[in-house]
């Protein structure tokens, strides 16, 4: 197979010879190694090694994007030729030319660890460490997954912008079960092997499972709710999605007409980073060859910007924020600003509340209004008078995003990188204490 730069050159060269106005080639190669386990036993090991070429072409305001995994030089030329031919059948659409700055991107030094390049043989021992740690902490059986990935992306545009960037990441998601329904959850997410802590995640899952024995259903009502970094990241990600100018333009975002307005309490800050120390995602350039950067989305509770690509930015008379997506801008690495409380201080502040450590199945009644509900699972605890009064089960949490983030009272100083089954965008997140959240339970 050609190397990534050669692939891009073949694709963009073919496109230019055909007479396109703009062409972008983004080639990538990745290797993902995974071990999954359940009932303290490995269930499968996976290794997926792939390469892909994505091509964007524009001619006479007609635009198309295509991806292929057939990467021989002749195949790529034919692929570009077919894509070019298809443009004739397309209607004209919103079009903004690519930047002609001819940027040359060098790989970021952040977020790449050579020790993660070939780690698949070490995964069984790591899984065993997590399982054993959970057992020692009180878990009886554990299920989980360790995923180690490395990826390189190279870009070339017809305007002459070029470069490459690489990332590594390793994550563990472990869930432990004790007697009956009692379960606990642990995560460890890192871009570097030295910060990866399977033993710690296993211990948290085991302790959580042990602490959940004898859980009871709460009364329905409004509660102070303390969201763990895991739960908070899941909800924060939906706000960042709502900040995509594509969602705003499509009328599906709860942040429509909110620019410059209060959308959260003054203690809440949300930032997106193209690349950042410790970040598990992102790269130094976006899909249109714009340099990625740090963008403050919510500053002291005020919505300060939407996330843009060239097309959405031009409609609003601003510049791209380096978040393309050819179609829809998206965040790379989210960061929720730290507070000044400890977890223990936050619990002490709660008169009648609920602590949630994990959740799943967040669904929206209406993305425009921001109304949603989510289902807590694993460690969940009733707090009365600043103390843990016992474990909880069988509940659902509902709210709307703007009310929830406007009711943030405290954030912890301690933060954690989160990326797992329920959180796609890596997020550095603290514990977040929110007032007046609705808790319900089902009729049975």
């Amino acid at each position: 197979m050609m190397d990534l730069e050669e692939l891009d050159e073949v694709a963009v060269g073919a496109a230019k010879r055909l007479g396109v106005d703009d062409a972008v080639a983004i080639s990538s190669e990745s290797a993902d190694s995974m071990i999954r386990f359940a009932n303290n036993s490995v269930t499968v090991v996976n290794r997926v090694q792939e390469a892909e070429l994505v091509v964007y072409l524009a001619r006479d305001r007609r635009k198309a994007i295509a991806s292929t995994s057939n990467l021989g030089p002749d195949a790529v030329k034919k692929f570009v030729g077919d894509l070019f031919a298809s443009l004739k059948g397309l209607p004209e659409s919103e079009y903004v030319p690519l930047s002609n700055t001819k940027a040359k991107f060098a790989p970021s030094r952040l977020g790449y660890d050579r020790r993660l390049e070939d780690v698949d043989r070490e995964l069984p021992a790591m899984a065993k460490s997590a399982i054993d740690s959970s057992l020692r902490a009180g878990g009886k059986r554990s299920a989980g997954v360790i995923d180690a990935s490395k990826g390189t992306v190279a870009i070339l545009t017809s305007a002459g912008t070029s470069g490459r960037d690489s990332k590594t990441a390793i994550t563990l998601n472990i869930r432990s079960f004790a007697e009956g329904e009692a379960s606990g959850h642990g995560l460890s997410c890192s871009s570097a092997l030295k910060r990866f802590d399977p033993e710690g995640a296993g211990r948290r899952a085991g302790e959580g499972a042990k602490s959940m024995r004898g859980a009871k259903e709460p009364e329905a009502g409004k509660y102070e709710v303390l969201l763990s970094p895991t739960v908070a990241s899941n909800i924060v990600e939906t706000v960042a999605g709502a900040a995509s100018a594509f969602s705003v333009d499509a009328g599906t975002s709860c942040l429509v007409e909110k620019l410059g307005k209060k959308v959260a309490s003054a203690t809440f800050n949300l930032t997106d980073h193209g690349v950042v120390e410790g970040g598990l995602g992102g790269r130094v350039f976006d899909d249109e060859g714009t340099p990625t950067r740090t963008n403050r989305i919510i500053e002291k509770g005020t919505l300060t910007r939407y996330l843009h690509n060239l097309t959405t930015a031009k409609k609003r008379g601003v510049g791209s924020t380096g978040n393309a997506g050819f179609v829809s801008p998206h965040p790379w690495n989210l960061e929720v600003g730290e507070g000044d409380s400890s977890y223990g201080e936050m619990v002490k502040e709660m008169k009648r509340g609920v602590v949630l450590t994990s959740n799943w199945y967040t669904r929206f009644k209406n993305y425009r209004s921001g109304e949603f509900s989510t289902v807590p699972r694993d460690g969940a605890y009733m707090i009365e008078g600043g103390k843990v009064a016992g474990p909880l089960k069988g509940m659902r949490v509902g709210d709307d995003l703007l009310r929830l983030f406007s009711s943030v009272r405290l954030l912890s100083k301690e933060r954690e990188w989160i990326q797992w089954w329920e959180v796609d965008t890596p997020t550095l997140c603290p514990w977040i204490l929110v007032d007046g959240v609705t808790v319900t339970r089902a009729y049975g």
């Binding site: 993902d32 009932n39 090991v45 991806s67 069984p124 009328g251 009644k365 209004s369 699972r377």
Partner: protein, 479 residues
């Protein structure tokens, strides 16, 4: 599909894996072809094309399962990947306590293709945009009687072809063309908004789009949003009967019957992701509903979105009666879970692409039709609520505690539909829901959906559906 090249590579992969010491090996070569077009508030979005070709190899060595995939389709690379799958499986045996064994299903030799009249490869961008222009023309500019400032419309056509081979003698070639539509409508009236997501898809060629009558459907949904925005009455707070539309019957069947009856969940394999199940291995024969509760999953339905006549372990699919007359009757199995239960697989293993391992999935999950006409179902309701469509929904990971928020919903009084009811909430446990089924109509409808499961995630195309289902003695809202 590059048929012979793919077949040769798959055969070579299985051969190498066996030589390396695998007690079982399989390979699946799969091509993917997709064309998609979108309109955002009438503005054309960039057309999107996908062409993929790769191989997934799964082996058992020393009782451990290994899966490797690549799209480097050189013989050298495929042999290396097959060999690596065996080495990785063997190395993982240090954490193995429950060896993977397969049932005794004999290898199937079969070539199959979903029915197709007009070949899906003819879905060029002009045809796709024509479909959407027609839809847009029906709803833009308040033509459907409601302001729709958010209109996202997508039409897509795809083709998946696969060649599957395993060391137990299976040789299966499959072709799945699929055509579908997705739309998201946001309606506004004064300060109120309402939202509806519409998904329809079938296996087949270009004729699917005509069968689906998308323009009529979307216009109808847009008009319904206008009505929903004008609804003022809250749902009743006393005990009522509830009529679930085919759409609601289908999502309930999928979420609270199909998922908990996936045998891998029952055995704990999805514990860290999609969760486990309220059912245990010995729950077969347990009473979960009234005698009227009957739910099935059938991968053999012609034209269906979840059409899988032979699964991705080479096992012929067949109809599964999940709940029969109120009793837990059958789980969804692959070859490994079937072996654990002392059974043979019922053909529920699916993979969405070459780089994903096959896991247990639903296909088309539905409440079985009953004996009543739709009119008869409503006629018997003295005081109730009809859930015609829903918005928000979710369920806990053991599949016991679910919630469906009605979008278009009506009060029923003495057998007649009265005014719209605003956002009724059915938050109910699984035994209560299926234990309340009093009657089912003969009228069946299906919706397309994308079911999420697995790690890495696999979004599998399915149908959900059923008749009008009458639930007796329900309290709406939550406690």
């Amino acid at each position: 599909m590059r048929t012979q090249e793919g077949k040769d590579l798959a055969e070579a992969a299985v051969s190498v894996a066996q030589k390396e010491g695998a007690s079982y090996a399989e390979a699946r070569v799969q091509t993917t072809w997709e064309r998609e077009f979108g309109l955002k508030n009438g503005e054309p979005q960039p057309s999107f094309f996908v062409e993929g070709f790769g191989i997934g190899i799964r082996v058992i060595s020393r009782g451990a399962l290994g899966f490797c995939a690549t799209n480097d389709m050189s013989l050298r690379a495929v042999k290396e990947v097959a060999s690596r799958a065996v080495r990785l499986a063997r190395a993982s045996a240090q954490v193995l306590r429950e060896p993977v064994l397969l049932d005794s299903t004999k290898g199937t030799r079969r070539s199959w293709a979903a029915q197709e009249t007009r070949r899906v490869e003819n879905a060029d961008p002009a045809w796709l945009q024509g479909v959407l222009r027609d839809v847009e023309g029906r709803i833009a500019g308040e033509r459907a009687g409601v302001k729709l400032p958010g209109r996202l419309l997508y039409a897509a056509a795809e083709l998946q072809e696969r060649y599957y081979v395993n060391s137990d003698g299976a040789r299966v070639t499959g072709r799945v063309p699929r055509v579908g539509f997705f739309g998201s409508l946001t309606a506004i009236d004064g300060g109120s908004t309402a939202q509806r997501h519409i998904q329809q898809a079938e296996t087949g060629g270009l004729e699917v789009m005509e069968r689906l009558r998308i323009s009529d459907l979307v216009e109808e949904e847009a008009r319904a949003l206008g009505k929903v925005l004008r609804a003022r009455s809250g749902p009743p707070t006393d005990v009522v009967d509830v009529v679930l539309s085919p759409e609601l019957s289908g999502i309930a069947a999928h979420e609270s019957v199909g998922h908990p009856q996936e045998a891998d969940r029952v055995l704990g394999r999805e514990g860290a992701q999609a969760g486990e199940s309220y059912l245990k291995a010995d729950s077969l024969g347990m009473k979960i509903g009234s005698p009227e509760a009957n739910v099935s999953d059938d991968p053999t339905l012609p034209r269906s979105n979840g059409y899988v006549p032979v699964d991705d372990e080479g096992v012929p699919g067949k109809k599964r009666r999940l709940i029969k007359d109120g009793m837990i009757n059958e789980f969804l199995h692959n070859r490994a879970t079937a072996k654990r239960f002392g059974l043979k697989s019922n053909g529920a293993a699916r993979s969405v692409s070459f780089d994903r391992e096959p896991i247990i999935r639903m296909s088309n999950t539905f409440v079985e039709p009953g004996d009543y006409t739709t009119d008869e179902i409503f006629k018997d309701v003295k005081h109730g609520v009809y859930f015609k469509s829903y918005t928000e929904w979710n369920i806990d990971d053991k599949r016991l505690n679910q919630r469906y928020v009605g979008l278009e919903a009506y009060l029923i009084e003495r057998g007649e539909l009265k005014g719209l009811v605003k956002s009724p909430v059915l938050e109910i446990t699984t035994p209560k829901l299926w234990g309340s089924v009093k009657a089912r109509s003969r009228h069946m409808e299906f919706e397309a959906a994308t079911c999420g499961k697995g790690d890495p995630q696999q979004g599998a195309p399915v149908w959900t559906g059923g008749p009008e289902t009458l639930l007796a003695g329900i309290r709406l809202g939550s406690r």
